[in-house]
């Protein structure tokens, strides 16, 4: 006697590669201000990104992970989140951070090797960048649990890369989100690569979204280069979380248009032709074309905004470069709320050495 249990995930797209609607657009498309703000954030992110890479190349910044190709989904996430929600990022979420109020200078400090780059003023409850892959997923369910325990109608949104979806942290957290009906949205940013490892080597599953099924959660694939599809799916998932209806997994399909980080050389393992085709699907261009078609944007506006972005980034870079490093004693001062007596001697030693450099 055989019985069948059926499951599904859906996938969503609204715009084709030329910015032409494939379908009726969702209601968010009529919110012109939101769409324009989104586009502007994408361009700002891209401008910042190029500059950070340039700084690294000239020795003025550390290893930096480019967000090229992540601007659309990152922006959609930033817009979908309420200020009172908590964002749990991985390390390629610059577009979202900007909308949360993280400053360009803070981002530069962080990648420039200064811990103060995570002391975000504008979004003090957001979690900092998580370097150990997927570990942040567990924090996300913890934050969501805190909201549920306190009866707060707040939600958590957690990003993780396609590579990260292979790691236990993600899978365990997804499972808890389902078991506990937590107000959390997981966004798996599937940019097709985990450093040199292509998506197909991460999992035999056809989609990443279907990993939701094993946790009893709804899963959606969305074109992460399609702004309207992204906001539509994100808004719905966050509404669900806010309403106490539980968690969602969204797979946002995009492409890592740059190297993994400035320490990487993707030409070693990646086909030039594949990269070229990915540029055809670039979501920033796609939204710009749509805005042009709507008469909401033009070359002049583009030029003005690009100039403004450059100016803002330039200012942030100057402020960043003018920032003195912390004193060496800082390495002990935030370790505990109060320095334990056992460490007093070490702090004295640090304090007594000028900057702690070579003697």
């Amino acid at each position: 006697m055989r019985q069948r249990h059926e499951f599904h995930v859906d996938s969503v797209r609204y715009l084709d590669e030329h910015g032409h609607p494939l379908d009726d657009l969702p209601s968010q498309a009529s919110d012109t201000e939101r769409v324009l703000a989104a586009y502007r954030n994408m361009v700002l992110t891209r401008t910042f990104d190029a500059k950070a890479i340039a700084l690294q190349r000239t020795g003025k910044c550390g290893t930096y992970p480019s967000a090229l190709g992540h601007e659309v989904i990152g922006t959609a996430i930033g817009q979908a989140l309420a200020a009172s929600d908590v964002f749990v990022p991985y390390y390629r979420d610059q577009a979202t951070h900007l909308l949360r109020g993280v400053t360009l200078q803070e981002m530069l400090l962080y990648w420039g090797g200064d811990e103060r780059g995570s002391a975000w003023q504008a979004c003090p409850q957001d979690l900092p960048v998580a370097v150990p892959i997927a570990t942040q997923c567990c924090h996300a369910v913890g934050v969501a649990s805190a909201f549920r325990i306190r009866g707060e109608a707040r939600a958590v949104l957690c990003c993780v890369g396609d590579g990260g979806t292979s790691k236990g942290d993600f899978l365990e957290s997804l499972n808890l989100a389902g078991a506990w009906h937590l107000p959390v949205v997981f966004v798996a940013i599937n940019n097709q690569w985990a450093i040199s490892t292509p998506r197909r080597l991460q999992t035999g599953a056809e989609t990443i979204a279907q990993k939701a099924i094993g946790a009893g959660l709804p899963g959606h694939v969305v074109d992460g280069n399609d702004y309207f599809a992204s906001v539509d799916v994100l808004d719905a998932a966050l509404a669900r979380a806010h309403a106490g209806k539980g968690a969602t997994l969204i797979e946002a399909v995009t492409y890592r248009l740059g190297d993994h980080t400035t320490a990487d050389d993707a030409t070693r393992y990646r086909d030039a032709e594949e990269l070229r085709r990915a540029w055809d699907r670039d979501g920033v261009k796609r939204l710009r074309l749509w805005l042009h078609d709507q008469g909401l944007w033009n070359a002049d506006l583009e030029q003005q905004w690009q100039a403004e972005c450059k100016e803002r980034v330039e200012q942030a870079v100057n402020a960043y470069l003018a920032t003195e490093p912390e004193p060496a004693t800082a390495m002990l001062d935030s370790l505990f709320e109060t320095l334990p007596a056992a460490l007093a001697g070490q702090r004295e030693r640090l304090a007594s050495r000028s900057g702690g450099g070579e003697s």
């Binding site: 908590v86 002391a119 409850q125 900092p128 505990f336 007596a341 056992a342």
Partner: protein, 330 residues
């Protein structure tokens, strides 16, 4: 309340008492782990909490230590004070990345913006005839992690007072409970919500001839050894380190300045155990005071044997006595 609420309790009951007290007095305290709610914990440490404070604050989790460790971190960043249980220390390793890379670092990483006021509890140590992995004493792994406190009570009173201190501490604490003495003795505990100080050794017994330094279940054998030695006219100062990291070196050095000799006793294997740090610190800090080498009485450098041979592994009273006689002879 009228008069002190004195109770004769075991170590594990003292843990339970402290949890009850703190959950009643701070609504941010929540408890999570495997089998801790409905079942009250496999050692009964959390019994009654679910009934008293509800399933929202007392949570049975799915079976995943990494998840437990990380979920507690997320909760802690939002102002809760989670007390998460690892059912046995032998199962803590899956949570290692979360503990090392996040719990211990969140405050430093964010320059104080977020922090992790959480407690990880775990029964630890051998001697209870348990299966493999149920007898771990790997406190040294955690003592080496900056940003983490490692606290080990060795009596009902210290379990009560130190656990309260650990929960109230604004930074992460690994609280290791010596399960071999969970029910070994009963002690009067005043259930008054008073914490004991962290980062401080407890001198359990004063003496002149040698300083015995230990923690956890070995405190029992060490005190017994001190008794035996007293009968031979050798007086031992017995120190319960209690917070094995950060280490209260001052108390240890003061004592050795007086006695000139130190014997360290722990159950964990010797190589790279916390005893190494204690010995190195004394050998460096009390160099001129020492009349004999600092000696360690420890477990062997091997996996804790299954229970038929676990007593052969564990430090015995006789081993401690012998070590003291040795250093006294010098």
């Amino acid at each position: 309340m009228s008069g002190p609420d004195l109770r004769a309790v075991t170590l594990v009951e003292a843990v339970n008492l402290a949890l009850h007290w703190e959950m009643a007095h701070d609504e941010n305290v929540v408890v999570l782990g495997e089998d801790i709610a409905t079942n009250g914990g496999v050692f009964r440490a959390t019994v009654g909490l679910k009934e008293a404070f509800g399933y929202k604050r007392v949570m049975d989790t799915p079976l995943a230590e990494n998840l437990i460790a990380g979920t507690a971190i997320g909760m802690a960043t939002q102002g809760l004070r989670p007390v998460a249980e690892f059912q046995f220390m032998g199962f803590i390793y899956a949570g290692m990345e979360q503990i090392v890379s996040h719990a211990a670092r969140m405050r430093n990483r964010t320059r104080g913006r977020l922090h992790c006021p959480l407690v990880y509890r775990a029964p630890f140590g051998g001697g209870i005839h348990a299966p493999e992995h149920h007898s771990e004493s790997t406190e040294a792994l955690f003592a080496h992690i900056p940003g983490l406190r490692v606290v080990i009570p060795s009596s009902p009173q210290r379990a009560y007072g130190l656990l309260l201190a650990a929960i109230r501490n604004p930074d992460p604490v690994l609280f290791l409970e010596p399960k071999r003495i969970y029910r070994a003795v009963t002690q009067q505990v005043d259930n008054n919500g008073e914490a004991l100080p962290l980062d401080t050794c407890f001198t359990l017994r004063e003496g002149e001839d040698v300083t015995l330094i230990t923690w956890g279940a070995c405190v029992l054998e060490t005190l017994q050894a001190a008794d035996r030695l007293a009968a031979q006219g050798i007086t031992c100062e017995v120190i319960d380190v209690a917070t094995v990291s950060p280490l209260d070196r001052d108390t240890l050095l003061c004592s050795v300045a007086k006695t000139g000799r130190a014997v360290i006793v722990h159950e964990a294997c010797r190589n790279g155990g916390v005893g190494a740090e204690v010995a190195a610190s004394i050998a460096e800090g009390a160099f001129l005071d020492l009349q004999a080498p600092v000696v360690r009485v420890t477990g062997y450098d091997t996996v804790m044997p299954y229970y038929r041979n676990e007593q052969a592994y564990l430090p015995q009273v006789g081993d401690i006595v012998e070590a003291v006689e040795q250093v006294i002879a010098l």
